[in-house]
Symmetry: C2
Subunit: 127 residues, 2 copies
DNA sequence: TATGATGTTTACTGTTCATCGCACGCGCAC
DNA sequence: GTGCGCGTGCGATGAACAGTAAACATCATA
């Protein structure tokens, strides 16, 4: 039993209870069997539910879908596709960018992103 | 038959032949069956070989492993893991960063990456 | 004490993935 | 004309994936 899966499982249970759903009720809404939901919440599955089901859960729970999917240990398909696409053209660019932005706080990263957007407008990142 | 898979298939064949390997020989070195290799080269598979096998192929062909894997339509596990990890903490940061860097040329992106590395050293990206 | 809702366990299922074995046809060398 | 290496088509397979059904124990309520 993987650790991150267990963690996600208890988070799911917590959020579900916070919304006042019973296991069976939530399972029905999320379109899975109570059996399966129980297993997921206990971390008794080898791998997380599919991205699609996770998306549905996130919606029901009022969570950010992308984050919810990531918490469960999957990559949202749209993100994966975009990254793969770029790596075809420039294999090292993405890994390098990831390394470079590694230590940054969320705030620094946000500011940096804005900066880039601006530079694109005004032309060139080194005026 | 997906289009990118076909494209990758012919690229693989081209590179293999450039190295002077016969299909059987290369299959043996890459640790797959000739049958399967033939199918992959013809784009007659639904999905690309696993990342591990692709890595082995890249090595034999002298290609950049990450790019090779990306060309085949897969994400290198290490990259996927890193991205997923960050999205757990900050769900929107990565998508935003991808959007922001969308139009940049490889060169601009490289310069940007260097810039970030520098700013990290000197403290703060807005002096 | 019967009823009903709750969550859990065990065993099982259909599907997809990733790959292989075998038999085949082709061209060239001997 | 037979043997050899080449690539290919067809069918099959074992493992992994993503769940499900049915029966169960526990507790509250009527």
């Amino acid at each position: 039993m993987r650790d991150d899966i267990r963690l996600f499982g208890s988070l799911l249970r917590e959020k579900r209870l916070a919304k006042g759903y019973s296991l069976r009720k939530f399972a029905e809404l999320a379109d899975v069997s109570p059996t399966y939901l129980s297993q997921v919440e206990q971390g008794k599955v080898e791998r997380p539910p599919t991205a699609e089901r996770l998306r549905k859960m996130a919606e029901l729970l009022g969570e950010n879908a992308n984050q919810w999917i990531a918490m469960a240990g999957r990559l949202p398909d749209s993100v994966a596709a975009e990254i793969a696409d770029r790596m075809k053209r420039e294999p090292e660019a993405i890994p390098a960018l990831l390394r470079a932005t590694k230590g940054l706080t969320a705030d620094e990263l946000r500011r940096l992103t804005e900066q880039i957007e601006q530079d694109k407008q005004t032309g060139g990142n080194k005026p």
